[in-house]
Structure formats: structure tokens, C-alpha cells
């Protein structure tokens, strides 16, 4: 699914969520609901994209638009998805022109305000013909669900930290264990999924990505499961102290002043403090990772304390993958870099900023073009790398998503791409491609 299509689905779901909240507060015809209905109507037009009929399916904790999974929206609107599942919704079929009354009914139904189904026939719920009863859960969907669970856990932990200054560690541990199981069994898919980014919830998505990448490195090194889960918990919580930093500073679009940096630099200690206050098994290791994740390999970094040793290996691991994911993400103060550029930066800082052995291990795992890399091919097409390169110089396993004519393909085409055909790497936002949406493609094609 193209990034543009993803945005259309997100806009529709965002509008639906807004209206479903409004109908709980105001009656039909109230200006507030009218405005929300209008906005949803506009989003629906985009969502339909000129098609005579579009079906949104809710299945295995994911949204599908006309049988194609919508990965990002499935994570972003996870709570709405869960509400829909609780209401027994399996499909929403939209048949234009959509009536405002049906939009209102749909929102009232989703919001649990009413059991009345849309009556004008422009929105049909749970249309039997569109539901395939023989669908089986796929590894990809389980992986996505476990990603969502960790996302939920870190969201809850962060809000609990804001409210109470602490949180329950057990929920995070359980979620990481689930993610670990699926990362272990589908490492390639997990790496692809770790390319999911969110501008609005950067820290949460980043934390889960750092967790996946840390687990994957540990797995490649051959470390035991018992050892990796605590490291994963540390990875997912490494930035939790950022809730103590003013969002205005976190989102400042330029280089920070010394004063602003001072505030940024408190986040490791705030995170460690919150984790220790949370207690529970593994809290010591996680707190240590949070405390040390900006302590450099060469002894510099922050917070500055009289350390007698290098940061622990878990902290050093998180430092490497934290940097990689941060560089390849769009930040408030900088646009994203491509994976190769990120790997180069890691290489340049190996031995001073980062543990050289871990940098090399990480690069070895990721390859020159890690899964999720978007490549411009010599004929003008755009392809996404979907699995790791085992041998240096070996051809890449990719799927072509944009043809040489610049048009997005309806069905991504798997192919093998020799390295010398790669012209350059592209960024997801620049070419309108979301690598994580190809997860199901490489896992055998989950189509509803």
C-alpha cells in the first residue's frame, strides 16, 4: 500500500474516531457533530478514491482496505480497532454517495451509543460476502499484533509516569516477551516492521523499533532467550524519561540552546528513576540501560558520573540501534537519512561514540541495504528490500513498488536485484512508499 493510500485510510479512521466521540456528547444536528460529520465526509471521499465501492475489513487486529492490509493505520488506530472488534464489526462497506445520516449511524454504532445500523444503504456493516471464513492467522499479523502490544505497553507506561511518576513494569515485560517470540521466528519480517515510523508518536514507535533491532542483534550474536528479554525491556524503556522533558523542546525544529540541552539531558536519569520506582523483576537492568544509553563508549556523554567501567553491553547495544533508528527517522530537528548513511555514521563513531564490535555486528546483521531500504533502480523503478543479504555483494531480495514509469504498482512484484543496478537510496516520505506495508507480501501474502 502506498503512503498516500495509508494517509487516506488514516484520515478516514481519524474522522470516524472524532465523530464517534462527538455523538456520545451531542445529539444529531448539533453544530459540533455536524462539523465532524462534514469532516468525515471529506475523508470518506478521499478514502473512496473514485472507486465504486470500498470495504474496510477488521481482521486479526489489523485494518484492510479492499483486502490489502493497512499496517500503519492498524497501529496508529489500534484503540479504535479494538473498539470495533468489541462491537463485532468485521467489515464496513462504503457505497458512494455516502449519506450524512449513515455516517452518523456508523459513528454512533462504533462509539457504542446506538445499536442502529446505517439505514440508507450507503454504508453496509458485516456484509457476509466480503468476509472470507477460511483465513488463518499469519506470522505477519501476529508480529504486528505483538508490535502493537508493546506500543500499548509503552504508551500506558508513559502516561502512568506522567500521572503517578511510575508505572507497572510487568505489563511491559509481558509485551516484550510476546514481541521477542515473533522476532525470533521471523527476523526478516521483524526488521521490515521496524521501519514503521510515526511523526506524532515518534518516541513510542522508536522505542519499539529499538527493542526489535536489539533483540535481532542479540539473536544474531546467538545469545540465550533468557538474557535477551531483559535487554529488550531495557531497550523499549530506554527513552521513557523523555516524558519529563518539555514537548516544546523535544519538538523544537533546530539546534538547541545550552539551556534546552540541559533539559534534554535529564531524560536518562528521569527514565532510570521511574523504572527503579516501578520495581519488579528486571527493573535494575532496564534502569541501567535507560541511565547509560547516552553514556559513550569512550567515557564521554551524559549523564556525567564517575563511572568505573564502560556502559554495560546491553546499554551499548541500545546505543547503536537507538542511533540507527533515530537517524533513519524524521525528527523534529532533522529530516530522515537513509539506512546506508546511518550505517556510515555508526561506522565513523565506532570506538568513540559506540562499541566497535557492536557496530560491526549490527552492520553485519543489517547488510548494506537493510530490509526496508527503498532503492531507486537504474530503470527508474523503486524497489524495497525485504530480506537480509546473507553474503556481501549478493543480489538483493526486493519487491518493486513503483514501476519505471513512476506509477505505483497495484501488486508489489518480488524480484532479485543485482547490486550494480541500484542507483541510490530513497526516503519513504520522498517517494510515498511505506516499507512496513509490505510485511504481508513477504510473509506469503495475507489478503482478506
Amino acid at each position: 500500500m502506498s503512503a498516500a493510500a495509508e494517509r487516506q485510510v488514516s484520515a478516514f479512521l481519524g474522522g470516524l474516531r472524532r465523530l464517534s466521540r462527538q455523538v456520545g456528547l451531542y445529539p444529531e444536528g448539533h453544530p459540533a457533530t455536524q462539523e465532524a460529520v462534514e469532516l468525515l465526509g471529506e475523508a470518506v471521499q478521499e478514502f473512496l478514491d473514485g472507486e465504486p465501492e470500498v470495504t474496510l475489513t477488521i481482521f486479526q487486529e489489523a485494518f484492510f482496505r479492499n483486502r490489502v492490509v493497512v499496517p500503519h493505520a492498524s497501529l496508529e488506530y489500534r484503540s479504535l480497532l479494538q473498539e470495533m472488534e468489541q462491537r463485532g464489526l468485521e467489515t464496513i462497506t462504503l457505497v458512494p454517495p455516502i449519506s450524512a445520516a449513515d455516517l452518523f449511524d456508523l459513528a454512533a454504532f462504533v462509539g457504542g451509543v446506538s445499536d442502529d445500523l446505517p439505514a440508507d444503504g450507503t454504508i453496509v456493516l458485516n456484509e457476509p460476502m466480503t468476509v472470507d471464513p477460511e483465513l488463518d492467522p499469519t506470522p505477519a499479523s501476529k508480529l504486528r499484533t505483538s508490535y502493537g502490544n508493546v506500543l500499548d505497553a509503552i504508551r500506558h507506561a508513559s502516561s502512568a509516569m506522567v500521572v503517578r511518576g511510575s508505572f507497572e513494569l510487568g505489563t511491559v515485560v509481558d509485551a516484550v516477551e510476546g514481541l521477542f517470540e515473533h522476532t525470533l521466528s521471523h527476523p526478516g519480517a521483524a526488521l521490515l516492521l521496524s521501519t514503521v515510523k510515526s511523526h506524532d508518536e515518534y518516541t513510542f514507535f522508536h522505542s519499539v523499533n529499538v527493542c526489535i533491532l536489539s533483540l535481532a542483534v542479540g539473536q544474531m550474536i546467538g545469545v540465550d532467550r533468557d538474557v535477551l528479554v531483559p535487554a529488550g525491556v531495557g531497550a523499549v524503556l530506554h527513552d521513557i524519561g523523555k516524558v519529563a522533558v518539555s514537548p516544546e523542546i523535544l519538538n523544537y525544529p533546530g539546534r538547541l540552546s545550552a539551556e534546552q540541552w540541559k533539559e534534554i539531558e535529564i531524560h536518562p536519569q528521569e527514565g532510570a528513576l521511574a523504572i527503579l520506582a516501578a520495581g519488579g523483576e528486571g527493573s535494575e537492568i532496564a534502569a541501567n540501560v535507560a541511565f547509560e544509553h547516552h553514556a559513550r563508549f569512550d567515557g564521554e556523554g551524559y549523564p556525567r558520573v564517575s563511572r568505573v567501567r564502560r556502559p554495560h553491553v546491553y546499554s551499548r547495544l541500545v546505543q547503536v540501534v537507538d542511533t540507527y533508528d533515530a537517524i533513519t527517522s524524521r525528527r523534529a530537528y532533522r529530516r530522515a537519512e537513509g539506512p546506508s548513511r546511518a550505517l556510515q555514521i555508526l561506522l565513523d563513531g565506532a570506538g568513540s561514540y559506540w562499541d566497535p564490535d557492536l557496530v560491526r555486528a549490527f552492520i553485519q546483521m543489517m547488510g548494506v541495504y537493510p530490509p526496508g531500504s527503498i532503492l531507486r533502480v537504474d530503470d527508474g523503478a523503486i524497489a524495497v528490500v525485504v530480506s537480509r543479504t546473507e553474503e556481501p555483494g549478493a543480489p538483493l531480495s526486493v519487491v518493486t513498488v513503483v514501476g519505471p514509469d513512476g506509477c505505483h504498482l497495484d501488486e508489489p512484484e518480488p524480484t532479485i536485484l543485482p547490486l550494480d543496478r541500484v542507483v541510490r537510496q530513497e526516503l519513504p516520505d520522498d517517494v510515498g512508499v511505506d516499507p512496513a506495508s509490505l510485511l504481508e507480501t513477504i510473509e506469503g501474502g495475507l489478503r482478506v
Binding site: I221, P247, R255, P303, R335, L343, I345, Y353, P392
Partner: protein, 655 residues
């Protein structure tokens, strides 16, 4: 908002109204049925009285404005009322007449809701639609529109009309929430007109940035001007605008960049470049003019050397576009080299090292202590330092509850024996320890199997534990628990017996006795000095305990005190002294006792008891003394006869 007649109106009337509304607002919040309350009804009357009389009243955060002048609230309720209106984005309040108590209650009910709930539901104006008449009309701030709310028709006013009207089209698009590609489209369209698109783009950037900076500097003023920035991300619009740069055609990107670089020191230009990734800049660099290239590289070096910049990033160290291109090409090559090395097995050893390091046994307690020490060391903020101290003591008690005394011991001793903080922080740490130290905690420590560790912990808790235990001892009625408390206290003061001295002057004899007992149980000879402070206590029970403590602490040093106690005015003290002396084997005891008899100052019963004691001790000197007493043929007085009788009996018993 301003009203020309505002300052001419009676300020007293205005204040009266605001005070009335403030009082009604407080009443509404306090009473289940505010409509029955006088202040509430008074407010309704005031609203009716002043209908149409007063100018629109501007709302600030906790204050009101009329004609640009601030009306400082006289009462807290008024300030709270203003604040509540402010959080709901009410810009002005107008008294329009026809008030009803129900309407005012409904008005208050709406503004009492959480602001995000009201905002989600379409804003305060929308929320007030359809409510009974309150006599008030509000105007709501909005980013792009302003709505009147009181059940009357909304006014189609755009508070940004003036502001937006001044802005170039692309900036206007950004303010209207357009996507970056749409903004870019608007800029490109300018090419067909008279404007220079790159100039418009840069100008619009400055306009936007300045508006946002102004709004951040004075949020209240900006709200009054109709600008509402998302507090968590006020620069979102600006970022979105800069993002549109990347949707411009390359030639236009180059022109914009040339303009930005031509005035690199102009405020905002560096922020503009900060948004670019190194990749973005390196792609554009070769297409720039030579002077622009030079400036960009200069900027890159500066950014990379800046602590707050992007170290190792951007283009630092490169001095020409050719080098940049070469660096770009080398990226993949360098990474490939690393991978080749990996395939040749270069990293096998490294991975082994990493694996063994990762699998090495982890000692959570070590991490716990190191992090706590680190937090204590680096935390410079007083309130957060207190929090660190609380987390530290919290973790300590958690270990205790889980019977993890060694871990608790390490955590406490690891901080206290080598404090990672300055002396000025000691009071905070001490207070945290005091808060943590309860009798329950102390009993848990004292009752642990690991007595040595427990004693070390108790010793370090020192004065904090002393205070708790002494207070408890003073009120504990159960004898068994008192004994337990005394035992624990004895262990606590083992290292610092003087910690108890402050309490030895307590007026409660029983408490002092227990403290002396605890000193005795501490077993440290240094406690003798503390015990000595109450050797002459008015209560004989304390004096008795003092003797026991002496014997426990330093038997040899106790002998003179015991002998002196034989002359104590209280019989129980004397008896105790006799009993304790019997257990002392030192030879000089006999001599001291003999001397004491010779001085003939002991009460008769005690003197007899001493004679009997000498008989039981049976030493050479004692025997000599007994023989001398027993051999006296002529004695006068009952005391002497009693002594002779006792001496003879002792000798007979001995033979």
C-alpha cells in the same frame, strides 16, 4: 475587544459584576444545588442590571481586560473564573441580558468541563449552543475562525483575517493546515504570476517563524490575537512549511537555498538548514553556486562542532562539492568493506566476545546500586534529589519485605559508606532514612537470619532508628515487645552509643531504664560513659539498671561502681550490687569489699550480705577478714553482733 467607552464606565460597576460572577462560580462548584444560594441569585440580578451597559470584557489567564486595561481580580473566585474561561478559549464575555438562574448554571456547567473534552466536542461556543439564556455571550478564539456562542447565530469572523491577510499565500496555506505538497504547489503556481517564487518562499518562512516566536513569547497576547499553537509542538506548522521545500522542483530548491545561504546569519536561516539531513544537503550542494557551496560547508562544520548539532553528521571536514560527492559514493563502499570483512570471519571473534559478555551472569543488585549512586551523583535539582532518595529507600524496604537482606545491605551500605553526593545533600538523605525507618522496618532487619549484616544495617541507620525506637519504647505497653525494642536499640547504638545520650534526661524513669538496658546490651565499652550520666538517677530502678549495664559493658571497670552502690540509699540497688559482685571473679573485689566493711558505713543488712558474700567467695583475704570478724570476743551493739554471727556462719559453711 477594546471598547472606546471602556475606561469611562464605572469601574466599580464592572468590579461588582465580576465579583458577583466569581462568587457565583465558587458557589456553583461548592453547592449541590447552587440555584438556592444567595451569591448565585445575586449574580443573576447583576447580569440583569448591567445588560447592555458594559463593554465586552476580555479574558486573560486569571484576569480580565477592558479597553486594553487589565482589571485585576479582587477575589480568588474571580481569578479562578477568568482562568476557567481562558482555558476554554473564551476571548471576550459580554453581558447581553435576559439572564436566568438555570441558564447561568448551564453556562457554569459547560465551563467546568475539562477543556480537552469541550475542545473535542467542537469548542466552547458549540457547547453552549441550545443552552438556556445565561445573560452572557462569549466569543471564542480559534485558529482560523471565531464563533459566537450563546445560542445566537455565529458571527463569521476570522480572527486571523488581518494576520493571514498579511501573509504570503504559501504561509497562509501552511496556517490552514495544508500538506507540504500542497504548499509547494501554491509556491510553484506563483511562477506564472509576477512574484519570484523563491523570494516568496523565503519571506513566508520568515513571517511564519516570527509569528510563532511572538506567540511563544507571549501566549496570552497571541491567544487574544487568535493564534493558538499546539503547546506540545508549537513549530509544527513551520516544520510542515520547511518540509514543503522538498516538494519543490529542484531548480526552485536551489534558488531558495541560494537565498538562505546568502544571508546565513539572518535569524531563522540556520534553523531552516538545521531541518535538512546531511543527505539532503549533500545532494543539493553540487548544484549551488561556489559562494553558496562555501557557506554551506562553513555551516556544516559549525553545526558539527556545535555540542547541540549533529556530530559526525552533515558535511563536516569536507571542503568542496567534489569531496562531498566522493563521500556520498564511499558510503556504500565502506559498509560493503565491513561486510566483506565479516564474511572472511574477521568478526567471529568479536561476536564470541559479545556473546560471552551478554551471557555473563548478571547481578541485578550491582546495577541497582550503580544506578542509584549515579542518580545521586548527577542529580542537581533539589526536588529530584529528594525523589532519588525516596526511590533508594523504597528499594531498600522492598528488599526487606522480600527477605533479601544481603541486597538491602548492599544498597544501603553502598551509598552511605562512600556517599556519591556532597555534604550539603546529607540532610536530604538523612530525612529519607528517617521517613523510611519505622519499627516494622527495624524489626524486619533485626529479626533477619543474617545477624552480622543486620547489625551493620542497624548501625548505619543510627540516629534515625534511635528516634523511632525511643519513641516507641516510651509508649509500648507490651513487655515482650519492649524487650524486643530494647534489644534492637542495643544493636542500633553499638557503633554510636552517644546517640542515646540526648534521651537520658527524659523525665520518664522507665524509659531511661530501658535506654540504659539498651546501652548495656550494645556491648561496647564506649557506652560506659553514656551510662555513667545516669549513675545517680533519682529513681533506684534506673540506678539498678546502670549497675547491670556496667557489668555487661566493662566488668573490671564496673567493680568500683558496684562497690560504691553498696552504700546506695535504696535496698534494691544494694542487693543488686551484691548479686552482681558475686559474679565478678577479680581478686581485688575481695580487697574492696573488706575495705568497705572496715569503713563501717554500709547499712547493716548490706554489711551482713557482704560478709556472706565474702564467705562464698572464699579467697585468702576474705577468709582473713571473716576470721577477724568472727574472732571478736566482745562486741557491742546489734550491728556488730550480726556481723560476727554472719562471719562465723560463713566460716562454718566453708569448713
Amino acid at each position: 475587544m477594546s471598547h472606546p467607552a471602556a475606561l469611562d464606565r464605572s469601574e466599580r460597576e464592572l468590579l461588582e459584576l465580576l465579583n458577583g460572577l466569581g462568587a457565583a462560580w465558587v458557589t456553583f462548584q461548592l453547592y449541590p444545588n447552587p440555584l438556592d444560594q444567595a451569591p448565585f441569585l445575586r449574580a443573576v440580578d447583576l447580569l440583569a442590571e448591567h445588560a447592555g451597559d458594559l463593554p465586552p470584557i476580555g479574558i486573560g489567564p486569571g484576569t480580565f481586560f477592558v479597553g486594553g486595561e487589565e482589571i485585576v481580580p479582587e477575589r480568588e473566585g474571580v481569578e479562578k473564573f477568568a482562568r476557567q474561561l481562558f482555558v476554554h478559549d473564551v476571548e471576550t464575555l459580554e453581558v447581553v441580558g435576559d439572564p436566568t438562574a438555570q441558564g447561568l448554571a448551564a453556562f457554569f456547567e459547560v465551563i467546568s468541563r475539562p477543556d480537552d473534552e469541550v475542545a473535542d466536542a467542537g469548542g466552547i461556543a458549540a457547547a453552549l449552543v441550545g443552552m438556556p439564556s445565561s445573560g452572557l455571550r462569549i466569543k471564542q478564539r480559534g485558529l482560523l475562525n471565531l464563533v459566537a456562542g450563546d445560542g445566537t447565530e455565529s458571527e463569521p469572523i476570522d480572527p486571523l483575517a488581518e494576520l493571514v491577510g498579511e501573509l504570503p499565500e504559501p504561509a497562509r496555506a501552511a496556517l490552514h493546515g495544508a500538506d507540504p505538497d500542497e504548499i509547494a504547489e501554491a509556491i510553484v503556481e506563483l511562477e506564472d504570476g509576477d512574484g519570484d517564487p523563491s523570494a516568496v518562499y523565503v519571506d513566508a518562512f520568515h513571517e511564519l517563524r516570527e509569528r510563532i516566536d511572538d506567540a511563544r513569547a507571549d501566549p496570552a497576547a497571541s491567544l487574544r490575537a487568535g493564534i493558538r499553537l499546539p503547546p506540545e509542538d508549537p513549530y509544527r506548522t513551520l516544520r510542515s512549511y520547511i518540509e514543503s521545500f522538498f516538494h519543490l522542483p529542484r531548480w526552485l530548491q536551489v534558488e531558495v537555498l541560494e537565498r538562505v545561504l546568502a544571508e546565513l546569519s539572518r535569524p531563522g536561516h540556520q534553523m531552516f538548514l538545521d531541518q535538512f539531513s546531511g543527505n539532503d544537503l549533500s545532494e543539493l550542494l553540487p548544484e549551488l553556486s561556489e559562494p553558496a557551496q562555501e557557506r554551506l560547508l562553513e555551516y556544516a562544520v559549525q553545526a558539527a562542532s556545535d555540542r547541540a548539532g549533529h556530530p559526525l553528521d552533515l558535511l563536516a571536514g569536507l571542503s568542496s562539492a567534489v569531496e562531498v560527492e566522493a563521500a556520498r559514493r564511499s558510503v556504500a563502499d565502506r559498509v560493503t568493506d565491513v561486510l566483506r570483512a565479516a564474511s572472511r570471519g574477521v568478526f567471529v571473534g568479536d561476536l564470541e566476545v559479545l556473546r560471552s559478555e551478554m551471557e555473563a551472569e548478571i547481578d541485578p543488585g550491582r546495577f541497582e546500586l550503580e544506578v542509584i549512586r549515579g542518580l545521586f551523583e548527577c542529580e542537581g535539582r533539589q526536588d529530584r534529589f529528594q525523589r532519588v532518595a525516596r526511590v533508594w529507600t523504597g528499594r531498600f524496604t522492598r528488599h526487606l519485605r522480600r527477605n533479601e537482606l544481603p541486597q538491602a545491605h548492599r544498597l544501603l551500605v553502598g551509598v552511605l559508606d562512600d556517599p556519591p553526593f556532597g555534604e550539603d545533600r546529607l540532610p536530604v538523605v538523612r530525612r529519607a532514612l528517617e521517613r523510611m525507618t519505622t519499627t516494622d522496618v527495624l524489626f524486619r532487619i533485626a529479626d533477619a537470619d543474617e545477624t552480622e549484616l543486620a547489625d551493620e544495617i542497624l548501625a548505619r541507620l543510627g540516629s534515625a532508628a534511635v528516634e523511632v525506637l525511643v519513641a516507641k519504647l516510651g509508649e509500648e505497653e507490651d513487655a515482650a515487645r519492649r524487650r524486643h525494642l530494647v534489644e534492637v536499640l542495643g544493636r542500633v547504638v553499638r557503633e554510636r552509643p552517644r546517640d542515646l545520650e540526648g534521651h537520658l534526661g527524659d523525665h520518664r524513669w522507665y524509659l531511661v531504664r530501658n535506654l540504659v538496658a539498651a546501652l548495656g546490651l550494645s556491648g561496647t565499652p564506649r557506652a560506659v560513659d553514656s551510662v555513667r550520666l545516669v549513675a545517680d538517677h533519682a529513681d533506684h530502678r534506673v540506678r539498678t539498671e546502670v549497675l547491670r549495664a556496667y557489668v555487661r559493658l566493662d566488668r573490671d571497670a564496673a567493680i568500683p561502681a558496684l562497690v560504691r552502690a553498696l552504700a546506695d540509699p535504696h535496698e534494691r540497688v544494694r542487693q543488686n550490687a551484691i548479686g552482681l559482685l558475686e559474679a565478678v571473679e577479680a581478686e581485688d573485689v575481695d580487697a574492696l569489699l573488706v575495705n568497705e566493711l572496715a569503713r563501717d558505713r554500709l547499712p547493716t543488712d548490706t554489711a551482713v550480705a557482704v560478709v556472706e558474700l565474702l564467705g562464698r567467695r572464699g579467697g585468702r583475704r576474705a577468709e582473713g577478714c571473716l576470721r577477724e570478724l568472727a574472732g571478736r570476743r566482745f562486741v557491742f551493739g546489734s550491728r556488730r553482733r550480726a556481723l560476727r554471727r554472719a562471719a562465723r556462719a560463713a566460716l562454718e559453711a566453708d569448713s
